[in-house]
């Protein structure tokens, strides 16, 4: 056992047992962050705060929600919205944060792509981030089922149908997932478990992994500069803060994080109180009715782009395209053959690729919601093909990129 001396203070007592000074150094005061990063790098903290809001509001909702097909809708729309003090607030915080978290995830992802933050030693940051994205998607989808509204039910029907894998007709697999022939009690109860236990646990584990993945390769910067963190840290500690290229995480970068969080919260609470409906589909305020199909079935906005990659093709090709869209982002660090981890603006063809991908995904998102008729289905098909071609072209356009 280690040698313990009589503690001189509470801090000392804790320090001998928990090494809090060391933890503080590793996690905060000597966790070095490049100085030249902009507010987009604060999206990680914004996501952490949003996740915390989701967790806390979710816990309050969990106290009153009934995972029963007969009571679920009522428990959300009557009990929580009317009977429970501030239930409406928790629900709107939860509903709005569920949508906003995806907006920030997409900004976070595209920031990573733009600045090449997935390259050279940072692959695990990217891969763990993509795993988080997939888990968040499952979390969002399972949560969307819970109010048992009309769109919950039919989105559940459509999405689980995908598991029959088209021509393979694995109807048995679909029934196994649902626990019934159609979404019913077994389906609701298991999605409830996934949403409130298994997936949040997985998310918290993955957040840990994502942070850990950052520790050794360090945070990228907006100039793509290779920083010798040891040299720069010494300079900082010697008092030459102004010319050092690195800063402490706390309080230096944290003060910037918090500032961005502050402005983000104004936007967030504006939505919660005055535009709560932007994230809650009106159709889902009709109780689930298995005998009446809604005129248009579409997923939440953050799934629209991948839904639109599925939709314009025949069933089997659509599924292959959909599968491609789900995994291709994970492979980005290896598909990008260039030696540069610099902003896209300095990478010639890649820059064009980046903006085309962004615009293509916005077009896919829009077409995914619009009814698949006439011009919309043509645009959707072109955008879906363009998405696949962009990824196929990526290794070729980055292969010959000169070192900058």
């Amino acid at each position: 056992m280690a040698h313990f001396t009589k503690a001189t203070s509470v801090k000392d007592w804790l320090n001998q047992r928990l090494a809090i000074e060391k933890v503080e150094k590793v996690m905060a005061s000597e966790y070095w962050i490049p100085k030249n990063i902009n507010f987009l790098w604060a999206m990680g903290m914004v996501l952490a705060i949003t996740f915390a809001l989701l967790l806390v509001s979710g816990i309050f909702l969990l106290m009153y929600y009934q995972p029963d097909v007969k009571d679920a809708f009522y428990s959300v729309n009557y009990t929580i919205m009317r009977d429970v003090d501030f239930g409406w607030l928790w629900r709107h915080v939860h509903g709005v944060a569920a949508s906003v978290v995806f907006l920030i995830i997409y900004i976070h992802m595209f920031t990573g792509i733009y600045y090449g933050s997935y390259k050279k030693g940072r692959e695990m940051i990217w891969v763990s981030g993509m795993l988080l994205f997939v888990t968040f998607s499952a979390e969002a989808f399972s949560g969307y089922m819970l109010p048992w509204g009309q769109m919950s039910y039919w989105a559940g029907m459509v999405i689980t149908n995908i598991f029959s894998l088209g021509g393979l007709h694995l109807d048995g697999l679909v029934e196994w997932i649902r626990g019934d022939y159609v979404p019913a009690q077994a389906f609701l109860t298991r999605f409830f478990m996934l949403h409130v236990l298994l997936l949040p646990l997985a998310i918290m584990g993955l957040i840990g992994l994502h942070f850990a993945a950052l520790r050794i390769p360090h945070v990228n910067n907006q100039d793509g500069e290779e920083i010798d963190f040891d040299v720069e840290a010494k300079k900082y500690l010697a008092g030459d803060k102004a010319s050092s290229k690195v800063i402490r995480f706390a309080n230096d970068f944290m003060s910037k994080d918090l500032m961005v969080v502050g402005f983000f919260l104004i936007f967030f609470f504006y939505l919660v109180f005055f535009q709560y409906g932007f994230a809650l589909d009106p159709v889902n305020f009709d109780p689930a009715d298995g005998l009446k199909t809604p005129a248009h079935i579409y997923p939440e906005w953050y799934f629209l782009w991948s839904y639109e990659i599925l939709r314009p093709f025949s069933v089997n090709i659509g599924l292959i395209a959909f599968g491609f869209a789900q995994v291709i982002f994970v492979l980005l660090p290896w598909l990008d053959r260039s030696p540069n981890a610099v902003p896209a603006s300095r990478r010639g063809a890649f820059s064009i690729w980046f903006w085309l991908l962004l615009i293509d995904m916005i077009v896919l998102t829009a077409m995914g919601k619009l009814p698949p008729e006439g011009m919309f289905s043509t645009i959707g098909l072109v955008a879906a093909v363009a998405f696949i071609l962009l990824w196929v072209a990526l290794p070729f356009i980055t292969m010959n990129e000169k070192k900058v």
Binding site: K35, N36, N38, F39, L40, N77, Y78, M81, R82, W88, L89, H92, L103, I107, Q222, D223, K241, A242, I247, N251, D252, S255, K256, L258, M259, V261, G262, F263, L265, I266, F269, Y270, V272, F273, F274, Y276, G277, F278, L280, P282, V283, N284, F285, D286, P287, A295, H296, W301, L304, L358, I362, T365, A366, K369, L370, P371, F376
Partner: protein, 315 residues
């Protein structure tokens, strides 16, 4: 190096707004037909040209026009001839009590309703007299005098006994205009009235059986059971509800729902009642929202000042 952050922010916001516009306002405008409000003018109906005489109207309502054969006028001590369930069995739906009809329904609508119910209610596709499909409400063919004058008299009478339009509460407006077909579970409203708090379960069950029977007749009459409106303020929104009340056919051609014929003021009250059911906490939300936003702004200002202070040494 030049500070690029404002430009980056503009790019992020622009792409976000573009995406939002495409998936919300634009997509919904494509998916849902836009129906303009007709300002509750009932422009297709014949205007009331005569000035009504209340006393003569009363005689007609109670006498020659035989309104009270089916309609109760509780206010004037005329109770309903039968209970709601039996009335629904006879007519499909319980005929409304006329005590406050003059305050809730548009005068021109009432006048036209008396003369040609199927036309005023815009349900001629369902009740075509030529095919023998008579509307349960019998049209008034006149008592022998000037029919326009007689109708004006009856409307004047209905207006004279009704509470003043300013006294119409959201609840009264809803119960009169919508409540005989649409339940409002979240406000404890059934098609046969508010469900009382019963002491014995058997009484509660007896009430429920009455509601079920009423719903059965109503379903037969309408083709399907009209939906519970508890969440309609959220699932449909104000604009939809308002324009739907005004003219259901404009949204849903061929629907069995009649044009309700309410005044613009009564329609607003109906919507307020629906908001009371489905968006109960809206006033609390608005007032707390303002405080939270003020707090957030102050928090952001302090965060900004702290950042400036910390970064003073770093530049």
């Amino acid at each position: 190096m030049k500070n690029k952050e404002p430009l980056i922010l503009v790019v992020v916001v622009a792409f976000t707004l573009l995406t939002y516009w495409l998936v919300e306002p634009y997509a919904h405008s494509v998916m849902h037909k836009h129906v303009e409000s007709e300002q509750f003018a009932y422009a297709d109906l014949k205007p009331v040209s005569k000035t009504g005489n209340v006393a003569n109207g009363k005689d007609l309502v109670m006498g020659a026009a035989a309104c009270t054969g089916c309609h109760s006028i509780e206010k004037e001590g005329m109770p309903a001839a039968m209970d709601a369930v039996s009335a629904a069995a006879s007519y499909g739906v319980n005929p409304p009590d006329l005590s406050n009809a003059g305050a809730i329904y548009d005068a021109k609508f009432l006048a036209n309703l008396i003369v040609n119910p199927a036309h005023a209610l815009k349900v001629e596709h369902k009740f075509d007299a030529a095919k023998g499909q008579m509307h349960p409400m019998t049209a008034f063919f006149g008592a022998g005098g000037d029919i326009d004058q007689e109708v004006a008299d009856m409307v004047a009478y209905l207006k004279s006994i009704a509470i003043s339009p300013s006294e119409v509460t959201p609840k009264i407006a809803y119960e009169n205009a919508c409540g005989r077909c649409h339940a409002l579970e979240y406000e404890n409203w059934t098609q046969i009235g508010e469900k009382p708090a019963f002491k014995f379960e058997k009484d509660a069950l007896a009430f429920d059986i009455q509601v079920l029977e009423y719903k059965e007749h109503l379903t037969k009459y309408m083709g399907k059971l009209p939906p519970d409106l508890s969440m309609y303020i959220r699932s449909r929104g104000e604009h939809f509800i308002s324009t739907f009340i005004e003219n259901p056919q404009a949204h849903l051609e061929g629907t069995a729902m009649p044009r309700v014929g309410v005044t613009a003021d009564a329609a607003e009250k109906v919507i307020e009642h629906l908001a009371d059911a489905g968006d109960t906490k809206r006033h609390e939300r608005d007032s707390i929202g303002k405080s939270v936003l003020i707090y957030s702004v102050i928090f952001a200002i302090f965060a900004l000042l702290w950042k400036k202070q910390v970064w003073k040494d770093l530049h």
